[in-house]
Symmetry: C2
Subunit: 522 residues, 2 copies
């Protein structure tokens, strides 16, 4: 049956090769099931009544098992072999890239037994429920058994995948989120960034009398009504080009983007009375993810060509919109006008674009990653990267996590963590079974900085446009260079294609240095 989401015309390769067409249809069917899983996960985190948790765990377990079965169907391998040998596709680079990635996925999937996949899904669903309660009560003991189980199952999973040559167990997990990246290479890229960040924080510390003398931000963090904050987020997302006919914006504890498939990309945000600036950042962050999802070619849904490359590239999109656009001076030239429209001139009194810009860019050590400024943010990530790597290696027992976390917060940030809700319980990731994920945020910052510099050459008047709220040239550039390709290129190849260089930390350091100069004049 022809599916309604299949575009006409773009798929000539499917007409040329029968095995390839059958393969893509098979994968599309599997992806439909995966999309059901995504819709239920979204519901679980936004709307589900608490007493539905046991049933939801059953549902997600069953779905994960079925999806795994679909992705490990031996027919996939047969068809890949046939399609690769099909001379009709000999000159089709796109089909070749697709087949390369389909083979890669299949070979990963078949390494996992279905029982483990189901157990992981069940543990993630119930573990997230426990994490929510633990976080609310700031009681690590509620989450501890689930963290232990999660690490244990993650290690099992990593063992099934197998340690890459010259690598470590953690790499096998990392590869799911950032294909081909390793812990060692990440640590190597992070090293100069870490040294630079510590120095930069010291520069700010010196200029601000140990963070007590901030630039004049006109008390920007004032109270505003939540409903107006929601509207403000929505207006900014619309301006960025997010299609609300094919998506939503809702509320959750932890902002996220879930995109079951074409036409259905869902963002969430969170709001505090005094948090309107934070809500802009997280709306733009999730919006960046959402635009990537909305920019993937729907006609390839279910195949790698219709999928995002890696979490690092995904984060490059979210962090670019959040930081390079949303924390820029030109952006606030436009956005502050909108803020006056939405919240009213009275509420925004004694504030202006420049002060709002500075308020969005204050640097100070803080407890919560998602509320951290652009400079200290990467230290939060490095902390999580080191600790999860140690847990997977067996060098850190989950029960010791709070103590080690708090010690590191003291040494890295000079902060005494008052409770675990503000410490090791703040993030949802481990409760969802996402171990090996965190470093992709900083990888995303690094990719974003490098892409942003490359984009400047193509859009010389970028600042002027942003100052008028014209973001379409940016979105078009991202669609052309990144979104439309799906997984045609690897992250590393894409980076070289766009920027002429492999991933490195220089561009981000240049960006942060300039930012601190602009805001703190040091």
């Amino acid at each position: 049956m022809t599916t309604a989401t299949t575009a006409v015309g773009a798929l000539s390769a499917l007409d040329k090769s029968k095995p390839y067409a059958e393969l893509c249809a098979l994968l599309r069917d599997a992806a439909v099931w995966k999309s059901v899983n995504a819709t239920l996960s979204w519901d679980q985190e936004t709307l589900m009544p608490p007493r539905a948790a046991p049933l939801r765990a059953d549902q997600l377990q069953s779905l994960s098992g079925l999806v795994h079965e679909k992705f490990t169907n031996p027919r996939i391998l047969e068809l890949v072999n046939k399609a690769e040998a099909d001379t009709a596709l000999a000159d089709d680079d796109t089909a070749k890239a697709n087949l390369r990635e389909i083979r890669r996925d299949y070979e990963k999937h078949v390494k996992l037994p279905k029982s483990l996949v189901e157990e992981l899904a069940r543990c993630a669903s119930l573990g997230m429920h426990a994490w929510k309660e633990a976080r609310e009560k700031s009681d690590f003991s509620i989450f501890r058994p689930w963290l232990e189980k999660t690490i244990e199952l993650s290690r099992k999973k990593a063992e099934c995948f197998g340690i890459p040559a010259g690598g470590e167990l953690y790499d096998a997990l990392f590869d799911e989120y950032e294909p081909k990246m390793t812990a060692a290479r990440t640590a190597e890229i992070f090293k100069p960034l870490r040294e630079f960040t510590v120095n930069l924080i010291d520069r700010v510390r010196g200029a601000t009398d140990n963070f007590t003398k901030a630039p004049d931000t006109g008390n920007a963090h004032r109270d505003t009504p939540i409903d107006q904050q929601k509207l403000f987020s929505k207006r900014i997302l619309e301006q960025m080009g997010f299609d609300f006919m094919a998506g939503r914006l809702d509320v959750s504890t932890h902002p996220f983007c879930e995109s079951p498939g074409p036409g259905d990309t869902r963002l969430t945000n969170r709001y505090r009375p005094d948090g309107w600036l934070d809500s802009v950042s997280s709306a733009m962050h999730e919006g960046g993810h959402g635009l990537y999802e909305q920019g993937l070619p729907p006609e390839w849904f279910g195949t790698p060509l219709g999928d995002a490359i890696s979490l690092g590239i995904h984060e490059s999109q979210s962090r670019m919109w959040e930081n390079f656009v949303g924390r820029s001076r030109p952006f606030w030239g436009w956005a502050f006008g909108l803020a006056k429209d939405v919240f009213g001139e009275n509420v925004m009194h004694a504030l202006d674009a420049d002060k709002a810009y500075k308020a969005a860019n204050l640097v100070a050590p803080s407890f919560i990653r998602v509320e951290a400024d652009e400079v200290t943010y990467n230290l939060h990530i490095m902390l999580r990267f080191d600790l999860e790597r140690a847990m997977v290696a067996g060098d850190l027992a989950p029960k010791d996590l709070p103590g080690v976390w708090n010690k590191r917060m003291k040494s890295d940030f000079g902060l005494d963590v008052p409770n675990d809700a503000k410490g090791c319980l703040q993030d949802i990731h481990w409760s969802m079974g996402a171990v090996g994920y965190f470093s992709t945020y900083t990888l995303g910052n690094l990719y974003a900085a490098q892409f942003w510099e490359a984009m400047a050459k193509d859009i010389p008047n970028r600042g002027g446009m942003m100052g008028k709220g014209e973001f379409m040239p940016i979105l078009d550039w991202l669609r052309e260079k990144i979104h439309r390709h799906g997984r045609h290129f690897s992250a590393e190849d894409l980076c070289k294609r766009i920027t002429g260089a492999p991933l490195q930390s220089d561009a981000l350091m240049r960006h942060l240095d300039a930012k601190v100069k602009a805001v703190y004049n040091v």
Copy 2:
């Protein structure tokens, strides 16, 4: 694996009989899949972005196919045969009832080919999308092809089930919603009610100068803020005993209740600025459905003992809460106090409990079924019952529906239908493929009236309690007499057990007669 929703202790029959235990586990697994379908359907009608419609149709089609496969697994029949022969269950009436119904379901399911089930699901998902647009634009031509397809597929489905002895094609569809009920028997029960209703309307017409002189209701239909209406609905539902930890209340075009499974029962309502009284009725209606679902024994989830008997019995619950409780004078003694709390004394000025009661009970011909008064409501149902019966029989072509509908509205109600949105496009049911459903609303009214009279003997001070907002005795009675039994008894048997008589129209006519006397004094 022991599922978290399985209660401990109540399931000794499962310990006694291995085939029965395996059978129930198999059905529970199938029900988990069905519950996924329900969650996605709920999402589709409440939150789904419009452009997700094609993907959602794919999802629901795949799910329906899989659920059908699970329900037609030949292992079910093997296990039913074994369990029925298992002497360990010889004295277990509950197990016997469960097996009787499991066999019945299985024998129905295997009559449908999977391809037809998938086609029906696809047609329902896309058809509902088209119906929404057609209704918005009041353009029947948008929905017409989908209605034609729906009737065609429904006839195919009915033919697969087969016409019951002495019955008609329509009965095969009817049986899915109201097992063992027939169109002929329904028509027979409806006949005296129809005559009585026409007379009753004439009495009101005479007393009100052709509906122009209503009783003094203090302009009860005044504007109130939507947010406060939502709160009012929620407070009433809480008072009725609806568990919001295991459910939700949201907004949709057409109010409904969807209950994927234990712990997850979702109601929707709709609100207009001048519709606070209507929103109370629909909240209580859907709440009645929700309480039935929340009252089913969760430990039997997936088997008939954990399921509702029929739509007629389901509607008896919704219509009882809506009409027998929510449109009673004692109820308004309590609810008007709550209305003053929620909306403010100022907004409720010049209104009192008695006027609100009368406003909720005005009788007048109108276009929209879900906004109809208790008396004319059944005429709306009879119209739909007759027309869908004619469409299934092939005596009425879907293309002729608007004309025939409007003619009947003229003869039954004396009304000229201004557009199809207020006519044959107003209801969601046919767009969802629910053909054979409508008469269960009036059957529900009839059951409700008969149950309500029986309840009076057990709760003599019912009026006094309702006047204080004490609804738990009513809910407890319903749970004890109806909810906890699942499908242990057939609708007819349950009715005889509770009321000592088969279903008939006398009790409802007594109730309506008394209501009109109280409100119109005729």
